[in-house]
């Protein structure tokens, strides 16, 4: 079932945007709360100092980066089952937002790692390197989409790649972990004990990022739906003018 009716696409887009509108207030409040808890409420970490506060945003972004990829996978699977392009747009929107969050993780990581571990990039750490591979898969997904024109072929291929990528990520994580245990990397798990306030700040941050992801993803989804509807209408005009 294709979105043959541009009105239906517009309707879905409208619902999506309205949903985001509802999220704006909670998002704003959460955002303020997150900033407060991260910078003021949570105590300064003894060993690492102030730079540790980046940890809250880093983890928040990392969680959403992987959550987004789950939706890329899910959108692909449902598309292949139902052949409704809405799910393909959802997967694409999720990928577009996901890659941004993954980039945030990869940028905040080294900023935190260098002063604490004296290295920009701890290759042996499975979380770090898996996130890098996730980023590569995201980018590959988007490049693939970009090189194919609008249509069911692009949706099909994206879905297949998304599924293969999703199956692969846990295997990547495992393989890097084995790699690390064989070559013990200099970085040992920082025995940073998390005080309760820190845990709370972390939860707030994760919640904020999740809502932020949902909002952004719905906006991108609405944009894809709008584009699709616009293209349908333009095509209708072209045909009538022939």
């Amino acid at each position: 079932m294709w979105l043959a009716n541009s009105n239906r696409a517009l309707g879905s887009a409208r619902t999506s945007v309205r949903f985001v509108a509802w999220l704006l207030v909670p998002l704003y409040l959460l955002g303020v709360l997150a900033l407060y808890t991260a910078f003021i409420y949570a105590p300064t970490e003894r060993v690492m100092g102030e730079v540790q506060r980046i940890f809250y945003f880093h983890v928040g972004a990392a969680w959403t980066a992987f959550l987004a990829f789950f939706f890329v996978f899910l959108g692909g699977v449902i598309y292949l089952m139902r052949r409704n392009v809405f799910w393909d747009y959802l997967a694409a929107a999720s990928a577009e937002v996901g890659v941004i969050f993954t980039t945030i993780v990869l940028v905040t990581g080294p900023i935190w790692a260098r002063p604490v571990w004296n290295t920009w990039w701890p290759w042996g750490d499975p979380r770090v390197t898996t996130t890098l591979v996730l980023w590569l898969i995201y980018v590959a997904y988007l490049i693939l989409r970009n090189s194919l024109g609008e249509g069911e072929k692009r949706a099909r291929f994206s879905a297949v790649f998304g599924i293969i990528g999703f199956i692969d990520v846990p295997i990547v994580w495992l393989s890097i972990r084995w790699w690390r245990t064989i070559h013990p990397v200099v970085i040992t798990k920082t025995g940073a004990s998390l005080e309760p306030e820190m845990v709370q700040a972390l939860i707030v941050s994760v919640a904020t990022f999740t809502v932020f992801y949902i909002a952004l993803m719905c906006l991108r989804l609405a944009m894809h739906l709008h584009n699709s509807a616009a293209e349908e209408m333009a095509q209708a005009v072209r045909e009538r003018s022939e």
């Binding site: 591979v133 090189s147 291929f157 293969i164 990547v172 084995w178 790699w179």
Partner: protein
């Protein structure tokens, strides 16, 4: 319809075509040897550091030509539309996948063996039993690489930038088997550590099984229209 025979006939068709021109085999082989040679100029040939790094060099020399061959494997199908010929027939898409996979994998293993010989010569390794283990690694890595690679090669076969797109799609996915390949080779040839080798092989086998099954199942979505 005997599916196993079909897989063999499909593979045989590709191998026959390859044999007729022999162009791909020789140029791919040449390219791989070239990479080995270039790395010998890039690194200090005698040093210990280079020796430690040599498994990585070996696998780079195998992977890049492997990608080129994957792309070519579908060019013959795009040329005169022969892909349509197979899709039109009652042959199961999964069977078609396995046929292509088999041809690609056999081709790859053949090249791998010759490159290993060149590698031993250029990097001064002694002929030992360890080499047989490396061959086994090549066989296993070849399966995972070819399984995922065949799916992606089919996808990009009609895209203009396929030469650069295939590695972009494939390399992130095969990171685990690259790790297994390089580390496994290093353990066996340089450190003589078999327990670690076996652990990596377990990972390889798991990867192979998972992605061979995945390729079989999704191929319908890739070649059907």
């Amino acid at each position: 319809m005997n599916n196993l025979k079909l897989i063999w006939w499909l593979a045989l068709k590709d191998l026959k075509i390859e044999y007729r021109s022999r162009q791909a085999f020789l140029t791919t082989l040449f390219f791989a040897v070239l990479i080995l040679i270039i790395f010998n100029f890039a690194f200090d040939p005698g040093s210990n550091a280079t020796r430690e790094a040599s498994p990585g060099i070996l696998w780079v020399a195998l992977l890049f030509p492997g990608i080129i061959q994957l792309n070519r494997s579908f060019q013959s199908e795009v040329e005169e539309g022969t892909l349509q010929g197979i899709v039109l027939s009652p042959v199961d898409r999964g069977v078609f996948f396995l046929g292509k996979f088999m041809a690609n994998w056999l081709f790859l293993v053949a090249i791998d063996m010759l490159i290993l010989a060149a590698f031993v010569v250029f990097f001064n390794f002694t002929l030992s039993g360890g080499l047989l283990w490396v061959l086994l690694l090549m066989v296993l890595v070849g399966i995972g690489f070819t399984a995922v690679g065949t799916v992606f090669a089919a996808m990009v076969s009609n895209i203009r930038i396929r030469e650069v797109l295939l590695p972009i799609l494939l390399f992130p996915i095969i990171v685990p088997i690259i790790l297994a390949a390089v580390n496994g080779t290093r353990e066996v040839l340089i450190h003589n550590d078999f327990s670690t080798l076996f652990r990596w092989m377990q990972l390889l086998i798991a990867f192979d099984v998972i992605f061979l099954a995945a390729g079989f199942l999704v191929f319908d979505y890739v070649v059907g229209e």
